[in-house]
Symmetry: C2
Subunit: 256 residues, 2 copies
Amino acid sequence: MDSEKTVTACVLIIGNEILSGRIKDANLSYIATGLASVGVQLREARVIPDVTETIVDTVNEMRARYDYLFTTGGIGPTHDDITAECVARAFGVPLIVHPASRRLLESHYKPGELNEARLRMAMVPEGAVLLENPISQAPGFRIGNVHVLPGVPLIMRAIFDAVKPGLAGGDKVHSRTISCSLSEGTIADDLTRLQARYSDLDIGSYPYFRRGGSGTSLVFRGTKPERIDAAVAELEAIIRGFGDVPRQEDTAAMTE
Amino acid sequence: MDSEKTVTACVLIIGNEILSGRIKDANLSYIATGLASVGVQLREARVIPDVTETIVDTVNEMRARYDYLFTTGGIGPTHDDITAECVARAFGVPLIVHPASRRLLESHYKPGELNEARLRMAMVPEGAVLLENPISQAPGFRIGNVHVLPGVPLIMRAIFDAVKPGLAGGDKVHSRTISCSLSEGTIADDLTRLQARYSDLDIGSYPYFRRGGSGTSLVFRGTKPERIDAAVAELEAIIRGFGDVPRQEDTAAMTE
């Protein structure tokens, strides 16, 4: 019962528009939070441009290194949608028209509307499993440990939410966040000692500067809730020792 | 005058909290936009955890591959602020207390308050140049082609804005965005031919799904504005040919 099972993942964000700054990525934190909820630990994310060699090499490097790879972006009917053909190349398999996807397109478009470009949306690496897209006509797909998702957040979320329950997660990582009005420098030495005593936990320290005052948020992360509770109790004593009052914070995703 | 000068950069976001989904990165698009404005092209971004080996290896890989590397996160007084020591290790130099930074801290804190933890904020790789922090007491620094910035957006922006004018940029990349109500599939074949005729430009196609209707945004990017204008004129004719009206869009950063 005590052996830990760690399942890892990485996210590959494919898109010139994120790198140019024109569009802000809105997918990473959603995927990160969703993976954590099923016991999959996101270990790395990369943003890369729409360049064939870069995509092929990065897919191969990351699918070998992590249990799961999720890509976003670059699936669709236009010339810059090259993710499917790059993933096919990475796996060394041909790009084929998926029969189910073709039928879907044929039922959606009027005769004559299903042009060559639109048929590109039905093209997947041979052996890939379609991931149903409830919103538009470009399905995602899975091949091996690689999930290929669209970049449009609305659609990405719908497909990811459907995929999530089927992921084989490991031990869930629990977390608690305690905030205080003390500066990082005030409690840093005590935190170092606390982290040393709780080496099975990951204790993060994050200064905040908000209207209404500044302070520090301490995040405790680990697979054993009782260890987190014990470390939090010690931290609260440390904070009170400096004359401040610890505050339990919601651990939902937040922007700094 | 016609030879192109390309200057590249990458961003390394260091922080468990981005990968856990607790905090949304708010720095990448800011840096991307800022770099573009001075003729530096952001080619890649990575998000990695607070793990020494990972940081050291990634810093060395990326500083060799790109003209500039910008890191965010992990500078401060607590045990999990390991960026400075990792960068020192990557460069093979010792971590030292910077005299100017120490003086700054000594003038800021009352006698006795400048503890060992706070003195960590003055530690930089030997040979590093301080990047003044107008908001808190942890300066960023530059060593070689690596700029080390804090993760708190308010402070990161202040330091980055001061650094930006001094970057040696190449040819600026200009961009124009045209939107229409047509679906990607409708114009995809024409776009493919347009991209082939304007191979010196990068034409991106991005479907949007908003209240008020869906459609496609086309982004033209390149170093020669007159080439962009010519391609845009052709695109506008294509859009009109399908009975739709092209709309010029603001190219400021947007969230999908």
